[in-house]
Symmetry: C2
Subunit: 407 residues, 2 copies
């Protein structure tokens, strides 16, 4: 089997020297849109295969994280493995890696070597803090990088509200955002290389997790620089608008309600049968509502707490007030819009049977890409790739296997 | 002035029909890497110019959000404005928009019209839930879309820990991620169009905020589908590893400590002078530590609470334990690594004086792009763009202005 797919990136071949989350997420995105992805793993497989819930002896996350990829196992401590990687790289448009800075050079897979075997190759490197600088060797754990980028401080209740710590966004958000930035960078570099008038040369793309998070912090830096203002977390609310928060339902759910405009607030007061709130000078105009948001949210929460989730949601929809239950996996899986759009889809996984996968983002009208197969076993494609792309003969592959190079 | 820059996307011209966060964030990324960005705004300017802290009469966020863009003000309710937009679009490679689905068609700026004036144009559309389907018209507020995508439920303390609501990630994370996905999609479509063997045709890219978030939820969907397991939030912790959390310092900061391996945990116990913890069977091995994480984190927190942030950090660094203070704007601005990498940089803003901006992600070695200028006043480039790109003569521009079409 070859790994080529359909979609705008069909014909592109990408080598993944990745592990854990960031680089594999980048190649998942490229593969979803049609690129052929060759993933090199150590003989035991990418450690992420052991993460999260296991089922039939392998991780369910892997089914998604490894989809559309060819898996080749190689022990990169052996020179024969490095030689094989370079033969594969010679057939690739891009490499995506997230080893510690400097590690690939030490293995003999540095940028100059890759460029020598494949002139014009694009190399994306993902790390915690970047490939250079005094802090490049700092521990690259996702939770550390997210905190350095400012995300953790802001993901908390307002100062003084609680003694509980600021929460982790419940997914590997920093890793995923870096992987997405790397995918963007790879395509920007390939466009510059390949488009008419392009320069036909490769580029190195250096993506740092902490920087990827920091890039999304809106006015945080200029506000600090100009005003000395240190942005603070605001819990479930937005600092400059009210009411907008998460309110408790009778059965323990959380309902997001965003009634932070004059007509929306008027409709909400009518729905709550609280004309007194609409008339209360404490809540007249957004500025007053923000100043008195504790009292306002208390009143709204007292009302939402009287209603079961379904009834509350029905009333809010009826009144055309922007709102939603905070979806769990159950609501996501049942959502008609996600199903219509293929964003919740069934994928046949030989290891697990039919599974639910998230779909492909972005949607490309008329050329959407596909989930061609679910994440496969470590080394499932070793022989085929070594033969087809590295040009090795069966006896050469057998010799590598006998020497333990393939695991 | 023209808007062309340096970097891999120099020579690309992109029309932004955007407002608020998602589409303007997409074009900021494209502009940072060198694309010329022409932003169309209503005569009063993009509402985001009023968001966040104001300084010298304009928003500090805007200085970042609007950087490297040309601003053209047009009243799109007037047919002459639509004609001008189409003349500009005829000179562009791509359009990025985040109006409500269907709105651009109603204005006379639908995909077929854009394709007619510029064959091969790439069109990126960002919305809350996508351009089609039964839910496409649902309220597209960021906080609603993030909750539908599953992010809000997961950004909370563990069930039963607190009555406080799940928190908002303190930045417009869903909007920014969708903008980044759109930038990736634009470059994927342009590569397919322009590379050797490419098909020379345009594509429509349909990015939904709720879907962008859902795409990052790891094993959430397959775990639900296969096991009926509904993923739950875990507060400051990670569900499957311990100890890793945010711990209080004596002076009110939060220290992230990730000592979730055998050698790291041993070093932490030694640093805490608690050989009893290292020897305690409740904490022997990761599985036991996860099972007894409350007691373990209590012990670690009791220690961290005795030390001021600086002293605690120095000791953790000395012991080589992955850790960091949860950075605020102050620590970010002072960080040597961010400064070295240009991720915290001074930008001269004529409206504000020198300001701190976040730098450019991704870094491209040898071809990094630039912050050419800070966000400008609404309409600062109207005349120049109408002349240079729409081919209007001075008297035609004057007539548009007299008719109120330019604001």
């Amino acid at each position: 089997m070859t790994g080529e797919g359909t979609g705008p990136l069909a014909g592109l071949r990408v080598l993944e020297l990745g592990h854990f989350v960031a680089a594999p997420f980048c190649t998942r995105l490229l593969g979803d849109l049609g690129a052929e992805i060759v993933k090199i793993e150590p003989p035991g497989g990418d450690p992420v295969r052991q993460w999260g819930e296991q089922h039939n002896g392998s991780s369910l996350w892997w089914s998604v994280h490894g989809r559309n990829k060819l898996s080749v196992t190689l022990d990169l401590k052996k020179p024969e493995a490095i030689a094989a990687v370079l033969r594969i790289a010679a057939q690739c448009d891009a490499v995506v890696e997230n080893f510690r800075p400097g590690q690939l050079d030490r293995l003999g897979l540095g940028a100059a070597t890759l460029e020598a075997v494949r002139p014009g190759i694009v190399i994306a490197r993902i790390s915690g803090y970047g490939q250079d600088g005094p802090g490049r060797d700092r521990a690259a754990f996702g939770v550390i990088g997210e905190a350095v980028g400012g995300l953790r401080h802001l993901t908390n209740h307002a100062p003084g509200t609680t003694d509980l710590p600021p929460v982790r966004v419940g997914i590997s958000i920093g890793d995923s955002i870096s992987g997405l930035y790397a995918a963007f960078g790879v395509m920007a570099a390939l466009w510059r290389r390949d488009a008419p008038g392009g320069d036909r040369r490769g580029r190195e793309i250096d993506v740092a997790l902490a920087e990827s998070v920091l890039s999304m912090t809106e006015g945080l830096l200029p506000e600090y620089g100009a005003l000395g203002l240190v942005r603070q977390p605001t819990g479930a609310r937005i600092a400059t608008a009210a009411p907008t928060s998460a309110y408790p339902t009778r059965d323990g759910g959380w309902m997001l309600i965003a009634a932070n405009s004059e007509p929306l607030f008027a409709r909400l007061c009518a729905l709550m049968e609280r004309p007194d709130l609409a008339a209360d000078p404490r809540f007249r105009g957004n500025r007053a509502r923000v100043a008195n948001v504790e009292a306002l949210d208390e009143a709204i929460g007292a009302w939402t707490r009287t209603l079961p989730t379904d009834a509350l949601e029905a009333r809010l929809v009826e009144a055309d007030i922007p709102s939603t239950l905070a979806y769990t996996a159950a609501e996501i899986a049942a959502d008609a819009q996600f199903r219509h759009r293929g964003m919740v889809r069934e994928v046949e996984d030989p290891a697990h049977g039919p599974l639910l996968h998230p779909g492909i983002v972005p949607h490309l009208k008329d050329d959407p890409g596909a989930v061609r197969w679910a994440g496969r076993a470590p080394g499932a494609d070793t022989d085929a790739v070594l033969s087809r792309l590295a040009g090795l003969k069966p006896d050469e592959i057998a010799a590598l296997r006998a020497a333990g190079t393939l695991g």
